[in-house]
Symmetry: C2
């Protein structure tokens, strides 16, 4: 799905939150936001919103001399979800359908998205996981994913955010691990998970982990490293986590992709014809 006019206020909210994390200097904040607006005025409406977010964040990082505004928050959310993990694992084990329950939590954990949710707290993340624990998955079923996993030889699992990746372990440990390659972002962007987060979350001990070679809150394969592009080409099943991956990959018609995420804005709910806060398991039309 491409850019909507409604993405602009949301991107500006993201820019304001990010610039405040990047510097405490109000003058620098104001001047940086002026530059962001100047850049946004050149907008190509055929672009993807996550690609625009990348450009904006690049300006903020350069102007404020801050390599990773979300560094502390990423650690905080990894830590918080690691503490919660044993309780979630127990809830999955005690569920009538553990595989489905693991998908449900993996989708719900996509609430940990600083690109869209303002003033996110660990409390809100935990509350969302609890509230979503019995919500129905929209569009496709856990059984359909299980069948396609069975048939697949190589599965590429595209990670989304820090904290969220800890909850992904519930699902990863119920998939055939030897088939899985888990891909994080090439360098810091928003609160997206990088190799450092995968290590902190304990995913490197569970499955093979690579990175995309690129920093974007979503995945545009042609911008990624040759190594990642090869992995993407060879995978006969992709599990793409997060709304950003849905935004950038939903138009790809020649690849079997299961999108797992939480619908967090009106642009996505209108596009999908679903409700705000729905948890989504959606297979792409190959």
């Amino acid at each position: 799905m491409r850019f909507y006019l409604d993405c602009i206020p949301c991107i500006m909210r993201y820019a304001v939150s990010t610039v405040r994390l990047a510097t405490d200097n109000p003058e620098k904040q104001g001047n940086t936001i002026r530059q962001v607006l100047q850049e946004l005025a050149k907008i190509d409406y055929e672009n993807y919103a996550p690609a625009v977010m990348r450009t904006i964040e690049k300006i903020i990082k350069q102007e404020c001399h801050c390599a990773d505004p979300y560094k502390d928050m990423k650690k905080q959310f990894n830590q918080g979800m690691l503490e919660l993990y044993p309780y979630l694992e127990k809830a999955v084990q005690e569920s009538p359908n553990p595989f489905e329950q693991a998908i449900r939590y993996a989708a719900s954990a996509n609430i940990i998205d600083f690109g869209i949710i303002n003033n996110l707290t660990l409390e809100l993340a935990k509350k969302t996981l609890a509230e979503n624990a019995r919500m129905p998955l929209r569009f496709n079923t856990a059984e359909e994913l299980a069948e396609d996993v069975q048939k697949a030889q190589k599965i590429l699992y595209l990670a989304d955010n820090s904290g969220e990746i800890v909850v992904d372990k519930l699902l990863l440990s119920r998939l055939p691990r030897e088939k899985i390659t888990f891909a994080v972002k090439g360098s810091p962007i928003c609160n997206d998970a990088t190799m450092e987060d995968a290590e902190m979350a304990g995913i490197t001990k569970l499955v093979r982990v690579i990175d995309t070679g690129y920093a974007l809150p979503g995945t545009i394969p042609e911008f990624c490293s040759p190594e990642f592009q090869q992995e993407f080409a060879e995978a006969d099943l992709v599990i793409a986590k997060g709304q950003g991956n849905f935004e950038t990959l939903s138009e790809l018609k020649n690849k079997k992709i299961y999108f797992i995420f939480k619908a967090k804005c009106n642009v996505v709910t209108s596009y999908l014809n679903c409700d705000l806060n729905d948890i989504i398991l959606k297979k792409s039309s190959v």
Copy 2:
């Protein structure tokens, strides 16, 4: 209160809503929004947010050849509130303190603000009036206003939005009408009331009505007509309706002003140290 960085996403949301009302042509919408962003990049953070909104709306009106994007909505909300008016008047009459109850409704009706509230419906406006019917007024009391009204010779009542002005009649009819001058905007801006709305609402039959000679969703006296400036200077009490009037007049220390509005955004609640959705009656510090 001056501009905050948080005003930018909100102004962009307003710009997107307004451009959609001004034209159905998606290309024109997109190009206009690019121009709005370009203008916003030149932002002076010492300005008032309502003044920036004026500049933005001017660009939209010019580019889309639309003199009044909110024309239909203004009529709809005037009409809706006129239908509700007899029920509100009865509720005020039956209240233990009719004057206070009239202020409460006048403040609550400030929800009808397309500058801040997205996807506003007549249903939401009615629901808000019902829900706020027993809410406490924040900061000052109806008795304090009543005392100052008693002492005043000339009262200037600054109107805010269409629809909302119908509800203002509950309060206007409980004030000494001969002392009152009611001021609407000089020409259309957002959903602010103009002379046409004052006539439709029946206010011209109730009290003397003038206009500010200027179009801005708030009041900056030095930009207004000499006639309005004289009225403003001569008034020994000003009743200023709406959040926009609070934003533009709250720094004026030499004038007795009672602000009546509903706190609708986090910038205002932080400034005032109140809660979102509070109904406000606040006297300026002379």
